[in-house]
Amino acid sequence: MRSQLRRYCALLLLATPVVLWATDQSWKNHVSESDRSRTNPYTSHPDAVAAGARVFADHCAKCHGVDALGNGKRPSLRTPEVQEAKDGELFWLLKNGFLRRGMPSWSSLPEPTRWQVVTYVKSLGLSSEDHSSERKDNRK
């Protein structure tokens, strides 16, 4: 009876990380509502895309590729999952990272810089025509 109990305990201990891993696949599940609803102060800032692109080239391109299309196991940032994510969600991901999946935390970058990166990443999903019209709108 005791050995059977031990076997169940061992099985439970072994199974726990597997279950946790399986239920922890998407980083979006961890973002709180308050973080998700945060607004990007750089959305309509005329230079934010260019500034974010510079930071992206320095810190992010090494894994996600210069064109943000991904690199090996590192995901593309032009996928619907990223492009349809809210700015607050992407900002949360930059701050916290997803360490288990290889995404480091970028909390040491100041907040304004991280928002600039979010602005740049979101600009990648727009076609070049949309992008130029958005820039014209911003200038107005």
Binding site: R54, C63, Q116
Partner: protein, 299 residues
């Protein structure tokens, strides 16, 4: 004459080391690390997975009634995973009117136990050291480390090798562009049944600009980071406290050279009679992106 030869040899060695670093830098992609400009204090920042940071750091100081020493340490830091960074240090030093010697190596590992960012972020640090007593890298100060230790001639000091285990609890916070880090150090000599030695390091730093500029610029403010460090010994299990310890404090500054390495400079002032008056520190670090992927591509 001997010291002149030693100094010349050290210069040649450092020149060779720098040439190798420059070559590697030219062959690989280089990017900037996000590390604060500390020499002794560790923050929560780990190496990005797959990246290798090469750094050459030196400390120059003159103990009272002793000869000037110049240490050189080569640092190889690799991001194994998002939560684990492993690092090897190779150290040597040159002492004026004495000699130039290799002093030993360190192997350290840092782990982030918590997957998310918190107001205070802990990092666990474990290091194995195999250094002789002539080591002058001063990467940490523990126990009752004293400037008198730095006066011992190399020929005598190198006879004794210390194999020790060093652990650190790193606590670090980022808020409003500031980084504030606190390290608590405990070190045990594995050769002897001596007491545990304790130390601490505190650091605070901030970039000069919080937002990046849209245009490429060599001297824009976000490329500079300024900070200050305070570190020293805290005695041993036999006598805990600040009595008979060496303590240092001073400013640091780092600069991200455009499309190049990061240069960091710091001056540490001795705060007690046991401390060296002034220690000048310099560090040049390159981060090579996705190092093993580059090797695979080359094959």
């Amino acid at each position: 004459m001997r010291s002149l030869l030693g100094y010349a040899q050290a210069t040649v060695n450092i020149r060779h080391g720098l040439c190798c670093l420059v070559l590697i830098f030219l062959l690989q992609g280089v990017c900037f690390s996000q590390e604060p400009p500390y020499f002794v204090t560790y923050s929560q920042v780990l190496e990005e997975p797959g990246n290798l940071e090469l750094a050459l750091r030196s400390a120059v100081g003159t103990p009272q009634y002793g000869n000037q020493f110049r240490s050189a340490t080569l640092e190889l830091e690799y991001g194994a995973t998002g939560w684990w960074t492993t690092e090897v240090y190779l150290s040597g030093q040159n002492t004026a009117n004495d000699s130039t010697i290799f002093t030993g190596y360190r192997w350290e590992n840092r782990f982030r136990p918590l997957p998310r960012e918190h107001f205070i972020n802990p990092v666990l640090y474990v290091e194995y050291e195999n250094l002789n007593e002539a080591d002058r890298s001063l990467l940490e100060v523990v126990g009752n480390d004293n400037q008198a230790d730095l006066r011992v001639p190399n020929s005598e000091a190198r006879q004794e090798t210390e194999r020790s285990l060093e652990t650190k609890l790193i606590l670090s916070s980022n808020f409003r562009g500031w980084n504030v880090s606190e390290n608590f150090i405990a070190e045990k000599d594995l050769n002897e049944s001596g007491p545990w030695e304790f130390g601490y390091a505190l650091g605070a730093s901030r970039p000069l600009a919080l937002a990046a500029s849209a245009k490429e610029c060599a001297f824009c403010r976000e490329r500079f980071m300024v900070g200050a460090e305070l570190y020293g010994g805290l005695g041993t299990t036999d006598g805990f406290g600040l009595k008979s310890t060496s303590q240092y404090a001073g400013p640091t500054i780092s600069y991200d050279i455009p499309k190049g390495p990061t240069a960091t400079f710091g001056v540490n002032f001795g705060l007690t009679d046991n401390s060296v008056g002034t220690i000048y520190r310099f560090k040049l670090s390159y981060e090579i992106e996705q190092v093993f992927r580059s090797f695979k591509r080359a094959q």
